[in-house]
């Protein structure tokens, strides 16, 4: 889902670095806080958790599989600031260990997948949780997945608008190629996973454990 290096020019990525850097600083302060001795293990452990969750492949009808994101679950459990910090670190690790995503596009991916997605998931969950916890979890995760995918498609569309010779893929192709699997499969799988994980965490009384 994330944008690889080479798809966005410095005209987009450099301003994204300028926007993301203070956001990372703020999220580290708000979401993690405390002394380094308290926050370093929490950041490391939650980042590892998110990294490992994203390695779990869910088989879907048609012979293929999709990967979980776990971003909505992290946002619901720990808040969007912590989710943003941890997802950004996951993206950095994926870039430097696996070559997925990339270093030039890191802030764009972090804002789309670590902030927009989990932020929407957290807001939707908060708005609906009084009516039904399960429905709120599903709707939050589904909406968060769509928000993250749409944000990625919009940035690629913006790059096409700014320089069609650099990014010749038009927005209508990008948005269809990304949103159709997201709407049909990814969002549903993420929603069902978030519901399953939250209900087990509640039963095991682990939801408030931090």
């Amino acid at each position: 889902m994330h944008i690889p290096d080479g798809f966005l020019s410095p005209v987009v990525t450099l301003p994204a670095w300028a926007v993301a850097t203070p956001l990372w600083w703020l999220s580290a302060r708000r979401g993690l806080g405390g002394t380094p001795v308290e926050s370093v293990p929490v950041v490391g452990s939650l980042t590892a958790l998110a990294f490992v969750l994203q390695g779990i492949a869910i088989p879907v009808p048609g012979g293929t599989s999709v990967h979980l994101s776990g971003a909505a679950l992290l946002a619901i459990l720990y808040g969007p600031a912590t989710a943003f910090a941890c997802q950004s670190l996951v993206l950095l690790l994926q870039a430097v260990l696996l070559g997925a995503g990339g270093v030039t596009v890191l802030p764009v991916n972090a804002i789309a997948l670590g902030l927009a997605g989990p932020g929407v998931a957290w807001l939707v969950h908060r708005a609906l949780v009084r009516a039904s916890g399960r429905a709120a979890a599903f709707a939050g995760a589904w909406a968060g997945t769509q928000a993250a995918t749409l944000a990625v498609a919009l940035v690629l569309g913006l790059q096409h608008r700014l320089a069609p010779s650099y990014m010749p893929v038009p927005f209508e192709v990008t948005v269809v190629a990304m949103m159709v699997p997201s709407l049909a499969v990814l969002g549903v799988v993420e929603g069902l996973y978030t519901v399953a994980a939250l209900s087990i965490l509640r039963r095991a009384r682990l939801v408030d454990a931090r």
Binding site: D5, F7, P10, P41, A48, G102, P168, T174, A204
Partner: protein, 187 residues
């Protein structure tokens, strides 16, 4: 500072500069030259880096431009292929540079002068290792309990359960690491 952290830091810095430089390039001839230069300069281990590039970057790097070109050609005449080829060349070249440089640089040594970043990386990598083993064992357990291949619902339920275990383990490990850091005098 010993030479090794500096070497890894220099490699990583060169990689970041190269990634930005390549991502700013649209000329197909320049990209072709850059590909050739990269293959010559980073020839040691190039086969492995190329294989990883094909596996990781090629599906999106070639797939999206190819689908887009075909769709535009079907809609109303074939558009010039050069921008699409340049896009694929850029994406795959940065991926090749990434794999080649990361095979040569030692992240932990490069981060040695930055204690907080080193600690986060060490904690994170150790946790990833431990949690991954648990996930692999859980997957094997799920397969062994079912007389058929696990379906979407089975894996989703299993993922929910393993998440609870991973989360409790992460929280406990974070507390242990914090205690260990405090006992060694870190503040």
């Amino acid at each position: 500072m010993p030479a090794e952290p500096r070497r890894s830091q220099a490699l990583l810095a060169a990689w970041v500069v190269a990634a930005f430089a390549v991502s700013a390039t649209t000329d197909l001839r320049i990209l072709g030259g850059a590909w050739a230069a990269a293959l010559v300069l980073l020839h040691r281990g190039a086969g492995r880096a190329l294989r990883r590039t094909l596996l990781v970057a090629a599906p999106f790097g070639f797939g999206l431009p190819a689908i887009s070109w075909a769709w535009l050609a079907w809609r109303g005449g074939a558009p010039p292929a050069a921008p699409f080829l340049a896009l694929s060349a850029r994406a795959t070249l940065v991926a090749f540079l990434t794999f080649s440089v990361l095979a040569r640089a030692d992240l932990l040594r490069a981060l040695a002068p930055f204690p907080a970043a080193s600690r986060i990386l060490v904690v994170c990598l150790a946790q990833v290792h431990a949690l991954r083993m648990l996930v692999a064992e859980s997957g094997l357990g799920l397969r062994s309990r079912l007389p058929r291949r696990p379906r979407t619902g089975d894996v989703l339920r299993g993922s929910g359960a393993i998440t609870a275990t991973l989360l409790s383990l992460s929280v406990r490990n974070a507390r242990d690491v914090a205690d260990a850091l405090r006992s060694r005098g870190f503040e």
